[in-house]
């Protein structure tokens, strides 16, 4: 009888989890695709940055490396989405009073975060693709892709990156007005360290070993390194498996830490009453 009750409770809670996740995914996807202009406005920053840096490679005497800049433009679309639509989302929800609704509803917070992530990924793919297609058409850089390795790396990088976004979302709950400044301060330095546009790991990196060690704690660093290897140097799954293992470990660890962090900070917010504090 007790076992049956637990089983029913488990089914109900997993059903609620998936329904919440689907609902949050749907809202985010609809908000992006319901406004097709998003596609155009979203590509401005990544497209011009990657084109500018591709021209910089060309002016440096090696236009064949312009592909590094285009790949960086594709991936910075996802990184920007993680920062502005994942990390700071709960802060904005708090400002608008939605976060309190999340708290008093039975909807699991992790389902909301996963839904936000899936919606964000689906919504960012068209902009990222457009940046890639336009950049590749204009500069026509040479590539020797190993598609299996490229696909596996991309999926794992995105998973780890959005897991990081979930962790940041919970951490930003404790910040007030500083959240936006913090976001602005974090975005570009992480792009630099993670080598979005140039190799930041290995012999070709301009960084000393200590900086490389710190940079390799960021999932984007490992992901970019493996993406370059599989897209431009035809390295297969076997050649990049250490990167894939690292990305998997990072994704799992970040998911666990973000869950614990969210629970802790939410409880602290409830006790201290800071969850409902808004800045006008």
């Amino acid at each position: 009888m007790v076992a049956d009750s637990r089983s029913v409770k488990g089914c109900v809670s997993s059903d609620l989890w998936f329904r919440t996740m689907y609902a949050r995914t749907w809202v985010r996807t609809k908000s992006i695709f319901g406004e097709p202009v998003w596609l155009l406005v979203g590509i401005g920053f990544p497209l011009f940055t990657s084109v500018g840096l591709a021209f910089l490679y060309k002016s440096s005497g090696i236009s064949s490396l312009s592909g590094f800049a285009i790949l960086g433009g594709v991936m910075v679309s996802f990184w920007s989405n993680v920062l502005w639509s994942m990390a700071s989302q709960f802060y904005w929800d708090k400002q608008e009073g939605i976060f309190e609704v999340y708290l008093i509803s039975p909807a699991p917070m992790t389902a909301i975060l996963v839904g936000m992530s899936l919606g964000g990924i689906v919504g960012t793919v068209p902009s990222a693709l457009l940046v890639g297609v336009l950049g590749w058409s204009f500069f026509a850089p040479q590539a020797s892709p190993n598609w299996a390795a490229l696909a596996a790396t991309f999926v794992l990088t995105i998973t780890a990156l959005y897991a990081l976004g979930m962790l940041l979302a919970s951490l930003y709950l404790v910040y007030g007005r500083e959240a936006e400044s913090l976001n602005q301060a974090v975005g570009e330095p992480v792009s630099l360290l993670s080598g979005l546009y140039f190799p930041s790991l290995g012999k070709s990196s301009p960084f000393p070993l200590a900086v490389q060690a710190v940079a390799s704690l960021i999932p984007l660093t490992i992901g970019m390194d493996a993406l370059r290897k599989s897209l431009f140097f035809a390295q297969d799954l076997w050649a990049i498996y250490p990167d894939l293992v690292a990305l998997t470990a990072m994704a799992v660890a970040l998911l666990v830490i973000s869950k614990k962090s969210l629970d802790t900070l939410r409880e602290r917010g409830r006790r201290e009453g800071s969850v409902s504090v808004r800045f006008t």
């Binding site: 202009v37 155009l40 406005v41 401005g44 920053f45 497209l47 011009f48 940055t49 084109v51 500018g52 840096l53 021209f55 910089l56 490679y57 060309k58 002016s59 440096s60 005497g61 090696i62 490396l65 800049a69 007005r177 500083e178 936006e180 400044s181 913090l182 602005q184 301060a185 974090v186 975005g187 570009e188 330095p189 792009s191 630099l192 979005l196 546009y197 140039f198 190799p199 070709s204 301009p206 960084f207 000393p208």
Partner: protein, 267 residues
């Protein structure tokens, strides 16, 4: 008031440090892309690295304070502040100029920090000292050049502000496109000769290109003659842009009042 608002009512030192992280990282990214690319083909040149560092440091600030009028209007609409500005006896022009100048003042330490950090980072990361002339004369010349580009940046700001009067969402979209194009066409990172014709000719019509050249003449070449020429071109083309920007903004403001765009917002 404008300065406090620009700092988000936060601790000035902390906010400036946080705001410095992004431009410094952008400058270093450009420097590293140049270093990595040129090293692969054995064409690394410290003078070209200085070209990239100076341009990237100044570009990031121009792109920041040029969009201030746009942000001031869109924020003002959302916080109901802008209607108070436009019902005041004066036009919104001086209000936006005040916000712009506050942002310009904020940018001065950021440019200085970007250049200093890049100088030492180049020694640390690349093992090369950037050949930048750091003297009272060159810094004064840079400061004068930065003041000389104010009309151009404010003129661009008024154009973008006009756009913000009419739109109720995605206000940041056009400024991000304009900022991106400036990076490509203003010689911020590479000489315009790298661009294919006829794109390369666009650079010659921009005051920001002459500003970049004047700043490099002060900090890298140490050529007073070239500096004076480029500064003159910056100021002349900048005043033309400012006058057109002011006229366009006045027209947009009048039209916005008539059509009711001026306090329309998306909830």
């Amino acid at each position: 008031m404008g300065w406090q608002r620009e700092l988000g009512w936060g601790n000035p030192v902390l906010v400036i440090l946080l705001r410095t992280a992004t431009p410094v990282a952008s400058v270093l990214t450009a420097a590293m892309v140049y270093w990595f690319g040129s090293s692969q083909v054995g064409l690394f040149d410290p003078a070209r690295l200085a070209f990239v560092v100076v341009g990237a440091s100044l570009y990031s600030q121009i792109s920041t304070y040029s969009i201030v009028p746009t942000l001031a209007i869109s924020e003002g609409k959302n916080t109901n502040l802008f209607p108070n500005v436009y019902i005041s006896p004066s036009s919104a022009l001086p209000y936006l100029a005040g916000r712009f100048l506050a942002s310009f003042i904020d940018s001065l330490p950021v440019v200085a920090i970007s250049l200093v950090v890049s100088f030492f980072a180049s020694i640390w990361f690349f093992g090369y000292q950037i050949p930048i002339i750091a003297s009272v004369e060159s810094v004064t010349m840079l400061m004068v050049a930065m003041i000389g580009v104010i009309p151009a940046a404010l003129g661009l700001g008024y154009f973008l502000g006009s756009y913000a009067i009419f739109v109720t969402k995605f206000e940041w979209a056009l400024p991000s496109y304009i900022g991106g194009m400036l990076m490509i066409f203003s010689e911020a990172l590479f000489p315009s000769s790298v661009l294919p014709f006829p794109l390369s000719t666009i650079s010659e019509g921009l005051p920001f290109t002459y500003f970049m050249r004047a700043s490099r003449a002060a900090l890298i070449e140490g050529s007073l003659a070239n500096y004076s020429l480029q500064l003159g071109l910056t100021a002349t083309s900048g005043f033309v842009l400012l006058i057109f920007g002011m006229f366009f903004f006045r027209w947009a403001e009048k039209r916005g009042r008539m059509k009711g765009y001026i306090d329309r917002k998306t909830m």
